[in-house]
């Protein structure tokens, strides 16, 4: 044993390590990672292939929507545009004809806005209060109501299509925007209530108890304690509702008249128009325009969605 290693040797000996352990020249520190390992090639290979599979149609749509018709007729749908023109977008938005109207998608867009905003606000407002009541308060028949709601979530829409027509007609709301808003709010109720109930159930019960001891009532606890902690779930509910209602086609055609048709219905009418030449660039632009709103919602709310709001409420 040399002088230099005496101290370490004693230390090693004192914890019972064999003496070779400290002089061993074997592996040490973090394990090296190879960039081109079989695992990485499989992983990234799959991801890239799947991404291309999903992004290619989008690419074709984008490229086609900024080409002129002569260029499209050449037939190579993958080639980048030789000459970029935004005329198809303008036409799709403001000039394309459906039937007698020639004001493009803009009319449908505003109809969709007028349908989506009140429906989303109403359904989320009601469902969040429902969920809060079911999660935090015990009342007579609470389980019964909850069971009915769950059941409602699994009934196919088609079953209720005609009965709802009758109800709306009798109520004098058939063909109006109000009627459609009510239908959307009602049909969103089961799944949203379930969503909110589960979220409120996951919040610490002691917070609710503390608020009761502090003298807050049903609405006081809802607005002052629960709401400020529920931003993530409101964002989730908003995403679900905005995409669902914006993309709705069935209710839009069944319960309204042509003046109130939402964007999706109008898009369909533009794309499926049988008169004249098929303007692929206009169709592509119109489709992209219609899909823009849900897309924007996703991008804007993504960050809020991830952020944890309840931090610090309980044991941390």
């Amino acid at each position: 044993m040399t002088d230099i290693s005496t101290a370490t040797a004693t230390a090693a000996a004192s914890v019972g390590l064999p003496e070779e352990a400290r002089t061993d020249d074997g592996p040490r520190g973090p394990r090296p990672m190879r960039a081109l390992s079989r695992r990485n090639i499989m992983l990234y290979g799959t991801l890239i292939v799947v991404s291309i599979y999903y992004l290619l149609p989008l690419y074709v749509m984008l490229v086609t929507s900024v080409k002129g018709m002569p260029e499209i007729r050449v037939g190579n749908i993958f080639s980048p545009p030789l000459e970029i023109t935004f005329q198809p977008w303008v036409k799709a938005w403001a000039e394309a004809c459906t039937g007698l109207n020639c004001d493009g998608l803009s009319r449908g867009f505003w109809n969709s806005v007028r349908i989506t905003i009140p429906s989303v606000v109403a359904s989320i407002a009601i469902a969040s209060v429902n969920g809060y009541g079911l999660a935090n308060w015990r009342f007579k028949g609470d389980n019964f109501f909850f069971t009915i709601l769950i059941f409602g979530a699994f009934i196919p829409y088609q079953v209720m299509l005609y009965p709802v027509v009758i109800i709306l007609r009798e109520a004098g709301l058939y063909g109006s925007l109000t009627g459609l808003v009510i239908v959307h709010s009602v049909f969103g109720m089961p799944i949203l209530t379930l969503l909110f109930r589960n979220y409120f159930t996951s919040l610490p019960e002691e917070l609710f108890k503390a608020a009761r001891v502090d003298g807050a009532g049903y609405w006081g606890i809802y607005f002052r304690i629960m709401l400020p902690m529920s931003l993530p779930i409101f964002v989730v509910a908003m995403i679900i509702q905005v995409t669902g209602i914006w993309n709705d086609f069935l209710f839009g055609t069944v319960y309204t008249k042509p003046d109130y048709w939402p964007m999706t219905v109008q898009l369909n009418n533009i794309v499926n128009s049988v008169q004249g030449v098929k303007e692929y660039n206009v169709n592509m632009a119109a489709t992209l325009l219609t899909g823009l709103v849900p897309l924007v919602i996703y991008f804007v709310s993504g960050k809020l969605f991830v952020r944890g709001i309840a931090a610090g409420a309980v044991k941390g």
Partner: protein, 364 residues
């Protein structure tokens, strides 16, 4: 006058009886601890007193007023929860003043009360912070402050220290005791499963099991004269050692017969009256067993035993010894060293021991 009275309270969740005909009277200014394992109904009882759970039957009085049907806010209570339950979106000040604002207390008085509570709990520097930016101990202080500002007569604590680490827990325990001394007229009801907290804080302890209070007494009595086998086994760490044997009358006194050994029950403090019992249990705490090596002379330590194991615990050591086929724990000074296999002699401090009837499990 009793500060809190629980009369014949029962609580059922469906067919499950959580509390049954429970009675409990708590004096003004008393620090009462509800102690028991999880699921014994102690938190349930506290929630019933708070009004957060409706009782199935019975009455609850606070300061002589029947509050059985009152809302929690109208019962004159403040409550502290295990998970702190601070409102995350509010500052510390917001948390403290929330209840007062709901009561409609004037703004100036809210300020004054919040300041006083903050000073008492030393959380003044954090008044503008959010709970997320506080440590566990600071959060629990805020939670206590929230109960304090309400100037309630009765404070309810639901395992307030269970989420803290050991060092902080003992610090806050001392602070709670100090707080109780300061607020001499405030009744405190404190739920815990930690017997150290119970023994150190309580004026009286109610040991609960299966929704029934097993014993209600001051910590000294609970520790030294447990009413039944359950309380004896639950309280004390390391736990009491039990010897199975029988009680016999002999020569005007009583003896405890354990295998071939005879332990005279001289000086035993009976709850009722000693009587011959064919099936009895002698319970002795580790510190009430004397131990001698074979060489040391002693009048009392006369029973032969063998050392199994030594557990050094710092201030003292715990010896596990085998005595006639049964294992006993003995607390000895840490300066005395024993090795496994050492033959020793044991003696029992009978005035501090307990004899139980195996049938009824009650202390004799």
């Amino acid at each position: 006058m009793h500060s809190v009275s629980v009369r014949d309270v029962s609580l059922n969740f469906g067919a499950i009886k959580v509390l049954e005909k429970l009675n409990l009277d708590i004096m003004e200014g008393e620090f009462l601890v509800l102690l028991g394992p999880s699921g014994c109904g102690k938190s349930t009882l506290l929630n019933c007193i708070a009004g957060l759970l409706d009782v199935s039957d019975g009455q609850i009085f606070i300061n002589g007023k029947n509050v059985t049907w009152e809302q929690p806010k109208d019962r004159g209570i403040g409550m502290v929860f295990q998970s702190y339950a601070l409102y995350p979106q509010m500052t510390v000040e917001g948390n403290l003043s929330f209840g007062l604002k709901n009561q409609g207390v004037p703004r100036a008085e809210i300020r004054e009360r919040v300041d006083r509570a903050a000073k008492m709990l030393q959380i003044e520097p954090y008044l503008q912070r959010k709970p997320a930016h506080l440590s566990g101990g600071q959060r629990q202080r805020v939670a206590i402050g929230r109960a304090l500002v309400r100037e309630a007569d009765v404070f309810l604590f639901d395992e307030p220290l269970s989420n803290l680490d050991a060092k902080l827990r003992s610090e806050l325990r001392v602070e709670l005791k100090r707080l109780h001394q300061k607020l001499a007229h405030n009744t405190m009801i404190y739920v815990t499963h930690d017997q150290i907290e119970a023994l150190t804080l309580a004026d009286r302890i109610a040991v609960m099991k299966g929704g029934v209070i097993q014993q209600l007494a001051d910590p000294h009595t609970i520790y030294n004269r447990p009413r039944n086998l359950y309380v004896a086994g639950f309280i004390g760490s390391p736990p009491m050692s039990f010897l199975d044997g029988s009680v016999l009358a002999e020569g005007g006194g009583f003896i405890f017969r354990f295998g071939d050994h005879v332990i005279p029950l001289d000086g035993y403090v009976a709850d009722t009256e000693l009587r011959p019992l064919s099936d009895a249990i002698l319970g002795v705490r580790p510190e009430h067993v004397e131990i001698r090596t074979e060489n040391e002379a002693s009048d009392t330590a006369t029973f032969p035993a063998v050392v199994d194991l030594e557990e050094p615990m710092g201030a003292d050591s715990l010896l596990w010894v085998t005595f006639a086929g049964q294992t006993l724990s003995v607390r000895v000074d840490s300066s005395r060293r024993f090795r496994p296999g050492d033959p020793v002699r044991l003696g029992f401090n009978l005035p501090m021991a307990s004899v139980f009837d195996r049938q009824s499990e009650d202390r004799i």
